[in-house]
C-alpha cells in the first residue's frame, strides 16, 4: 500500500510545448505509463505517470520545467458496469474527496486501472481495503 508519484507539469498553451516536453522524456528513454491533461485558455496541467520517476524528476528540474510531484493512488477498478461507482461510493463514505481521476490505457483484461487524486490518501486506502477493492503498488504503476 503506497502512493504513486505523479508528475504535474505546467505547460503553457503555446504551439510545440507538449511536443517539446514529451520529446525531452522520450530522448532520456522515459516511458509514459499514462497521462491526463487539464487545460485553460492560457495553460495546461499535464499529469503523467512514468516508468522512471527519479530520472524524470531530475530531467524536468534540469530543464527548468515548473512541476510538482503529486502523490496519487492507483485503483484496480473492476471492468464492469458499476466498477467506478463502487470505488467512488467507498471513498465518499469515508469522506474522501476526489480532486480528479483518469484511467490507464487498457492493460489487463477485466481491469480498468484508474488514478485517483484524493485529499486523504491514508483514509482512501483504508476505505478501499475494507470494501475489498485492490490498489496498485507503485511499482506496478511504473513497470506493470
Amino acid at each position: 500500500m503506497n502512493t504513486i508519484k505523479q508528475f504535474s507539469i505546467f505547460v503553457e498553451n503555446r504551439q510545440g510545448k507538449m511536443a517539446e516536453l514529451t520529446r525531452l522524456l522520450a530522448d532520456a528513454g522515459i516511458d509514459l505509463r499514462t497521462l491526463s491533461l487539464a487545460d485553460t485558455r492560457d495553460f495546461g496541467i499535464l499529469r503523467i505517470i512514468v516508468n522512471q520517476p527519479e530520472q524524470a524528476e531530475a530531467l524536468l528540474r534540469e530543464n527548468g520545467w515548473t512541476f510538482q510531484v503529486t502523490p496519487v493512488i492507483g485503483v484496480k477498478v473492476p471492468d464492469r458496469p458499476g466498477g467506478v461507482a463502487e470505488v467512488l461510493e467507498a471513498l465518499d463514505a469515508a469522506n474522501v474527496n476526489v480532486e480528479y481521476m483518469y484511467a490507464f490505457v487498457n492493460r489487463i483484461p477485466g481491469r480498468a486501472d484508474t488514478i485517483f487524486r484524493v485529499d486523504n490518501e491514508e483514509a482512501a486506502f483504508r476505505a478501499l481495503t475494507e470494501k475489498g477493492i485492490d490498489t496498485l503498488e507503485a511499482d506496478e504503476a511504473y513497470n506493470g
Binding site: E12, T66, Q68
Partner: protein, 435 residues
C-alpha cells in the same frame, strides 16, 4: 540628548516654513536670472520674469531643468558664481554619457554638511560617537558629505573610504565604531564578512548605519540590521542637488524627511509636467533655494516618488518622501491611467512571484488592453487546476487594486521571459505601431 541638529528648522511650523521657502525662492530666482544665461533664456522663452515669482505658490511657473540640460551646459553653463568663489566640485559617475559636474562655494558645502549632520543626529549620533565612513571618497559625494556631517556633529570620524573589508572590521573592533555610513550593498557585504571571520554583532559596537546612494529593499534592511546588530537608516541625495542628505530617515523608518528649507520638492506628472497633489505618485522635482554656485531650479530627478506630510512620530515637520519607486521614463498611460512597471513589480514581489515579467499594451476596438505575463515557479504551482486559476485571479485583482484598471494575467514557465541579453525588456507597447 540631542534629537535634532536644527530643531528650529526640523520642527518648524508649516506656515513659517512656507515663509522661509518663499523668501529664499524669490531671492534665488533673481540670483539665477542674473547670473545664469542658460536658465534666463529658458525663463524668457516661457515668458517668466523674476517678478512673477512672489512665493512658493509661483514655483510651478518656472521652467524645468533636466539631465540633458546639465550635459548641454557642461561644464560651466549653469554656474551662478565666479570660479574664484567656488571651493570644490563633485561629479556623477557618468555611466550614461557625459559626466555631470557640480560646483560648491563654502556656503554650499556648509549647508550640505549640515544636512548630513541632521541625518546623523536623526540616527542617534552625538559627539560621543565614532563614525566610520565607508563610502568612497573622491568625486563621489558619499564620502565627503557624511565626512563633513560627522565633523559638524563632533563624532570621531574614521575616513576609511570603501573597500578592504577586513580592515574595515578591524578598525570597527579596535576603535569601537558606533555608526557606519556606506552603500547598503557594502553594508550587507561587511555583515557577511563579519560572519565569515567567525565574529558576531556582539564583537562590534555598531548601533546604527546610514545607508544610501542606491536602491534597497525593506528585506535588505532587515538582513543588514540582523547581521550587524544595528538600526539601519536610509539617506537620499543626488550630486546635482548637493549630495547625500537631501532627505534622511528618522527613527520611525517610514520615509525620508526632506530638508525642505534648502530643497523644495514637487511631484509632477512626467508626461504633462503638471504638479500633482500631495500623496500621488509621479516624478520627483527639486528646487535648491539657497545654494549659491550650482542652484538647480525645478530639476527633474526622473525618480518616481510620493510625498506625505503626515505627522511624524519623531516630531519633525519636514515633508517625507518614500523610497524612489523606479524611473519616470517608464510611465505608460493605459485607459487614461498613469501606469508604472514598478507598481506592477511591487505587487508581484508582494505575492511571491519573481520580478521577471512582461507587460504588453495594445489597443483593440479603441480600448487599451493590458496583458501581464508572469513566471510561475514550482512553489506556486499546484497540480489542481482550481488552485492555479485562483492564483491567477488573485494576482489580477491585486494589480487592479494597485492600478485602478484590470489586467489580463498570463502565467508562463520560468525562463520564458528572462531570455533577453543585457537590459531586460519589460514593456512592449504595440499601440505605437498603429499610430
Amino acid at each position: 540628548m540631542a534629537h535634532y541638529w536644527h530643531e528650529d528648522i526640523e520642527c518648524m511650523s508649516r506656515e513659517d516654513m512656507r515663509k522661509l521657502q518663499s523668501e529664499r525662492l524669490v531671492a534665488q530666482v533673481k540670483h539665477v536670472y542674473e547670473h545664469v544665461p542658460y536658465y534666463r533664456a529658458k525663463m524668457d522663452e516661457k515668458g517668466v520674469t523674476p517678478d512673477d515669482i512672489q512665493s512658493v505658490d509661483d514655483l510651478h511657473k518656472l521652467p524645468f531643468l533636466s539631465k540633458a540640460d546639465l550635459r548641454e551646459a557642461y561644464p560651466y553653463g549653469l554656474l551662478a558664481k565666479p570660479l574664484s568663489e567656488c571651493v570644490r566640485i563633485h561629479s556623477t559617475s557618468g555611466t550614461t554619457g557625459k559626466r555631470v559636474v557640480a560646483f560648491y562655494t563654502q556656503h554650499d558645502v556648509d549647508l550640505w554638511e549640515d544636512c548630513c549632520a541632521r541625518a546623523i543626529t536623526a540616527a542617534g549620533g552625538t559627539d560621543e560617537d565614532v563614525l566610520q565612513v565607508a563610502y568612497g571618497y573622491g568625486l563621489f559625494t558619499g564620502g565627503a558629505g557624511l565626512h563633513g556631517g560627522s565633523h559638524k556633529v563632533g563624532c570621531l570620524t574614521l575616513p576609511m573610504s570603501s573597500g578592504n573589508t577586513e580592515r574595515q572590521i578591524q578598525f570597527m573592533r579596535d576603535l569601537g565604531s558606533t555608526i557606519l555610513c556606506c552603500t547598503p550593498s557594502y553594508a550587507a557585504y561587511i555583515g557577511e564578512t563579519l560572519h565569515d571571520m567567525g565574529l558576531t554583532p556582539d564583537d562590534i559596537k555598531l548601533k546604527a548605519g546610514i545607508f544610501g546612494a542606491e536602491p534597497w529593499t525593506e528585506e535588505m534592511r532587515r538582513t543588514i540590521e540582523q547581521s550587524l546588530g544595528i538600526k539601519a537608516y536610509d539617506i537620499f541625495g543626488l550630486t546635482e542637488i548637493s549630495g547625500p542628505g537631501v532627505a534622511f530617515e528618522c527613527s520611525e523608518q517610514s520615509g525620508m524627511h526632506i530638508n525642505e528649507d534648502h530643497f523644495i520638492p514637487e511631484i509632477i506628472d512626467p508626461e504633462t509636467g503638471e504638479v500633482l497633489p500631495e500623496g500621488e505618485i509621479g516624478e520627483l522635482v527639486f528646487t535648491a533655494i539657497d545654494k549659491e554656485a550650482f542652484p538647480m531650479l525645478r530639476y527633474r530627478t526622473r525618480d518616481l516618488c510620493k510625498l506625505t506630510r503626515e505627522k511624524c512620530g519623531c516630531g519633525r515637520t519636514l515633508i517625507k518622501m518614500c523610497k524612489p519607486m523606479g524611473r519616470s521614463d517608464d510611465m505608460m498611460i493605459i485607459r487614461g491611467v498613469n501606469v508604472f512597471p514598478s507598481q506592477i513589480e511591487t505587487v508581484l514581489i508582494e505575492q511571491g512571484y519573481t520580478p521577471n515579467y512582461l507587460i504588453e499594451v495594445d489597443r483593440k476596438n479603441n480600448t487599451d488592453t493590458l496583458d501581464i505575463s508572469v513566471e510561475l515557479t514550482a512553489e506556486q504551482f499546484s497540480d489542481k487546476m482550481k488552485d492555479v486559476q485562483d492564483r491567477e485571479r488573485s494576482l489580477a485583482a491585486a494589480i487592479k487594486t494597485m492600478l485602478g484598471i484590470s489586467p489580463k494575467v498570463h502565467l508562463v514557465s520560468p525562463k520564458t521571459i528572462t531570455r533577453s541579453e543585457g537590459k531586460a525588456v519589460r514593456v512592449i507597447d504595440r499601440r505605437k505601431l498603429h499610430d
